[in-house]
């Protein structure tokens, strides 16, 4: 069955950052230097081709963009400056918008103004709501305990309801991703038990990002810093998310420091602050090929995260040093950053924290199933007339 070409697709994805894909003439250098391309997943060339040709149905069902961690070697090698690395990045952005059932992600990626306005509006609403709540029952001079401006049990409930909303979006989008890649995009049926057999892939890739560390394996002088910092940032982020969702009441109690909880907060903060500064610096300096082209959403991502960490640390310091008014004010600002950030999660680059390990997991299942498929085919005698 012939696949229908959508000639307008290349223009659609150009809005997501793939501006040079039309230059590619398919020499295949990119797939040769790529440490991850293999027999089954022949990216980036194949993805470049599908994109050029406007094979939208093909791209929405592919896992390939998720298997790339953007080391940038393909873009360095490309004789036509078609920037395969950025193309894969753009496809990831497009896929995030494709998985997203609400259509919000698409708007964010396509228009920086909409995204910034949405962030500002959410921040403003959050600020108004928190100030209203604080002043209606609390005292700006009290940070924790009785009569606190923003009591920790309230924040906990606030966080959990946000988390629930987030989880709903993410789970639905992840299911959509599963449907597209594993049902619609797979020509054969995948045995159900493979999902259990390969389950270990999920935490393994989530916590180690091992594949990212392999990105540099084909280089003469491997450079592991991006992987290391990225891992630190991600682990810091996850730790902080767990702290905020589960232990926020212990975190906010004071004035004594509870080391059993706070130590994790400190470690996470180090990871986050180092990571955000490192990535902002790279994006400003355009040191490496993968940071040369920053999409609007990339900037919102790092800057917002940086502000969250900064205000988080500031309110902690103010709290411990007894400047409760300042602690409350920075806390409000902190939450004004956190809420849009969290609400933006399923519709933004951030979602790759879920999609990537899922893609590794699905890819492992796919490869396993494909190998079985071939065995089954060969186990029947084939008569050639």
């Amino acid at each position: 069955m012939a696949i229908r070409v959508n000639p307008r697709f290349i223009d659609v994805v150009a809005r997501f950052g793939a501006e040079d894909v039309q230059l590619c003439y398919h020499c295949g250098d990119c797939s040769t230097v790529c440490p991850h391309a293999d027999e089954v997943f022949k990216f980036p060339r194949k993805s470049m081709r599908s994109l050029q040709m406007g094979l939208e149905q093909k791209i929405e069902t592919t896992l390939e963009p998720w298997l790339c961690y953007y080391c940038g070697q393909c873009s360095e090698q490309c004789p036509r400056e078609a920037d395969p690395g950025e193309t894969m990045m753009s496809l990831r952005r497009w896929l995030i918008s494709r998985y997203d059932f609400t259509g919000i992600a698409r708007q964010f990626f396509k228009s920086r103004i909409i995204e910034v306005l949405a962030v500002l509006l959410t921040a403003l609403l959050t600020g108004i709501f928190l100030l209203y709540y604080g002043f209606s029952g609390g005292n700006i001079h009290i940070y924790d305990g009785e009569g606190a401006f923003l009591p920790s049990h309230f924040i906990h409930k606030f966080d959990l309801s946000l988390g629930l909303l987030l989880a709903i979006f993410l789970v639905v989008n992840a299911l959509h991703m599963w449907y597209l890649t594993m049902v619609k995009g797979t020509t054969f049926t995948v045995p159900w038990w493979l999902y259990f057999k390969q389950l270990y892939q999920l935490p393994w890739h989530f916590f180690t990002q091992k594949r990212y560390s392999e990105c540099e394996s084909k280089r003469k002088h491997p450079f592991f810093m991006p992987w290391f910092i990225h891992l630190g940032l991600m682990l810091g982020y996850v730790t902080m998310l767990v702290l905020v969702m589960v232990f926020v009441e212990q975190l906010q109690s004071g004035p004594a420091i509870r080391w059993s909880v706070h130590i994790f907060g400190y470690l996470a903060s180090i990871g986050l602050i180092t990571g955000t500064i490192y990535f902002i610096r790279n994006r400003v300096k355009k040191n490496y090929v993968q940071y040369k082209k920053s999409h609007g959403t990339d900037w919102v991502f790092v800057i917002l995260l940086f502000l969250i960490v900064l205000t988080g640390i500031a309110q902690h310091v103010f709290h411990r040093t007894g400047l409760y008014e300042w602690a409350n004010i920075t806390y409000v600002i902190h939450l004004m950053c956190v809420v849009p950030w969290l609400l933006r999660m399923p519709f933004s680059k951030w979602a790759h924290i879920i999609y990537r390990p899922l893609a590794m997991y699905f890819a492992a299942i796919y490869i396993d199933a494909l190998a079985r498929q071939e065995v089954v085919v060969h186990s029947f005698p084939v008569f050639i007339k």
């Binding site: 069955m1 012939a2 696949i3 070409v5 000639p7 039309q22 003439y25 050029q52 040709m53 036509r80």
Partner: protein
């Protein structure tokens, strides 16, 4: 042969010959032969000191025959002949023995190779003894030229010749000059206007005193030989044959620039040309562009345009060759359509993108930058065009097995442009017969040498240029036209033309007038004298191939420098017993 004083020179060719052949032994053997005055060996006979050695010896030892045993005569016969000339000796009193290609390069055993070298040298000596002094002949060169075909090549050649002050007769079949280029809007890759390229030439030709333009005319006959042709030009004018006026002109040379015609796209059923209204050929698109409006038959502006390459070219069924201009022309269309309608999506369906010329690769890149969708199909796995269903947003759907992705895809199209290839004109065999040149299997005229003589033909005085030789683009056609003109101008400047002394002669006393040779001569050099009832050879046309010599039942024809005596002496020499 009495009074023969032969000098024999054996070349070592560095080590090429000396490594296998014992050149000193050959020299020793030769020096003992009768009539051989001296035998020398030398590292490189073809070098200046080597040639000087020969000249010196001729003068000092009164040599009257020279044999050089070295490489192939193709390589250095001219070199040594000129050495003879500079010593005042007739250049035909020379013979070469090829002991490199025919001996040292193909043998391993020194003893056997040396024996063979001796035999070869000995046979050359036997032959050279019978050589005669021959003088080359010269004929007058008429400065007028006939140019057949008024396209860009013909016009260029005509102007080039006329600007040098020579009279040119330019014959064109149509009622206007310009040929296929006049049907084109812009040219690839620099997007110069074809009209601009032509107008300047057209006005100059029409006003040029030396160019006589014959529109709606045809060359119907050509007689004579180089420098002295007579051509008959017939005016067509749509009148019945008996009323047609004809002119006879005297000319020295002919340039054939009859061009090409485009492939008939309806021969390929896959594309539905002639059935689907919006499947058009490249020339039909040119017409639209020149009219200033690219639209479908229904008068709509196309949103999707597909361009299919290699229509009639590069396939076993139709033409196996590449038509060379279509790839860049297709890119030109992409650029022209895009600039007329930037919202239009263009798919370019090709087999291979041939972007070999100056500026072509950049043009290809520009087209990629403009987001032309390049799709590759396998040779002989042609795309198929269907009519789209009413619910589709396009006129047609093209199904392609896309090679780079390995997918079978469907491309929407409102307008399909078929890049029709070039083929030889159906009447090209007529002109080939009239001017006596050959055609290859595809009908293109054959050049005298594909690399070194690209505009000359095997008939002296007949030149070919442009797309009647093979598909080519404008710069190549112009270059060929100018090359042909330059060749002719050089001959006109000389005033006379030297004819090689190696032609055949008919012995009138022995000729019985059977006319066997008349039909056999591949160069039409033999004519029949009705009065004497005998054949005679036009020496200016004869190439000395020897067909007539072999065929003549009365042995009346002698091939100069290849007489029976000389050849038999050479054969005898080769089979002579040589003891080492």
């Amino acid at each position: 042969m009495k009074n023969c004083r032969i000098g024999v020179y054996i070349c070592m060719c560095g080590t090429n010959i000396a490594k296998i052949v014992d050149v000193e032994a050959v020299a020793n053997f030769v020096s003992g032969l009768p009539n051989v005055v001296l035998a020398r060996t030398y590292k490189y006979m073809c070098s200046n000191p080597g040639q000087e050695m020969i000249t010196q010896d001729i003068k000092e030892n009164q040599l009257n025959r020279v044999v050089v045993a070295a490489c192939s005569p193709n390589m250095h016969e001219r070199t040594f002949r000129s050495a003879l000339r500079s010593a005042g000796l007739n250049q035909y009193l020379f013979e070469m023995a090829n002991i490199r290609e025919q001996c040292s390069w193909v043998h391993k055993d020194t003893k056997e190779a040396t024996e063979k070298a001796m035999a070869l040298v000995y046979s050359a000596i036997c032959r050279v003894e019978l050589h005669e002094e021959l003088e080359s002949m010269s004929v007058n060169m008429c400065p007028n030229t006939l140019v057949v075909g008024g396209g860009i090549a013909g016009m260029t050649a005509a102007l080039e010749l006329a600007d040098a002050g020579n009279s040119v007769h330019l014959v064109e079949k149509n009622n206007h000059l310009g040929g296929n280029l006049a049907r084109v809007d812009l040219t690839a890759p620099y997007l110069y206007s074809a009209r601009d390229l032509l107008t300047e030439r057209l006005t100059r030709i029409m006003n040029h005193k030396q160019v006589h333009v014959y529109l709606e005319s045809k060359v119907t006959d050509l007689t004579g030989y180089i420098g002295n042709f007579k051509a008959t030009i017939q005016l067509l004018n749509g009148k019945p044959a008996e009323e047609k006026k004809s002119v006879e002109v005297e000319i020295g040379n002919v340039v054939v620039c009859t061009g090409y015609k485009e492939f008939d796209a309806s021969r390929i059923v896959h594309y539905g040309y002639g059935k689907l209204p919006n499947v058009i050929t490249s020339f039909e698109l040119e017409k639209m562009i020149r009219a200033g409006c690219i639209e479908t038959k229904e008068g709509k502006i196309p949103r999707y345009v597909a361009i299919i390459h290699c229509v009639g070219s590069r396939s076993q069924e139709f033409h196996t060759y590449c038509s060379r201009v279509c790839c860049m022309t297709a890119l030109k269309y992409a650029s022209e359509i895009k600039s007329a309608n930037p919202a239009c999506y263009i798919s370019d369906i090709y087999i291979d993108m041939h972007a070999f010329g100056k500026g072509h690769e950049d043009f290809y890149r520009q087209s990629s930058e403009a987001k032309t969708l390049f799709l590759m199909y396998e040779k002989d796995d042609r795309p198929v065009i269907h009519k789209a269903s009413p619910k589709d947003d396009c006129e047609m759907l093209i199904e392609v097995n896309e090679k780079l992705s390995g997918e079978t895809i469907e491309i929407p199209a409102d307008l399909v442009i078929l890049m029709v290839g070039m083929e030889a004109r159906e009447d090209s065999h007529e002109i080939a017969r009239i001017v006596n040149i050959s055609q290859d299997k595809d009908g293109w005229f054959i050049e005298s040498h594909p690399k070194l003589e690209p505009v000359a033909t095997t008939t002296d005085g007949i030149f070919i240029a442009g797309t009647c030789v093979a598909p080519k683009d404008i710069p190549d056609s112009v270059a060929q036209a100018r090359a042909a003109a330059a060749r002719i101008l050089a001959r006109i400047a000389k005033g006379k033309i030297e004819v090689d002394a190696l032609y055949s002669e008919v012995n009138e006393e022995m000729c019985s007038g059977c006319r066997f040779c008349n039909q056999l001569c591949p160069f039409s050099a033999i004519e029949f004298n009705e009065e004497k009832k005998q054949s005679y050879i036009i020496s200016a046309l004869c190439k000395g191939c020897g067909v007539c010599v072999a065929a003549c039942p009365s042995s009346a024809i002698k091939g100069r420098h290849f007489t029976d005596h000389q050849i038999l002496a050479q054969v005898d020499g080769l089979f002579c017993e040589i003891g080492m």
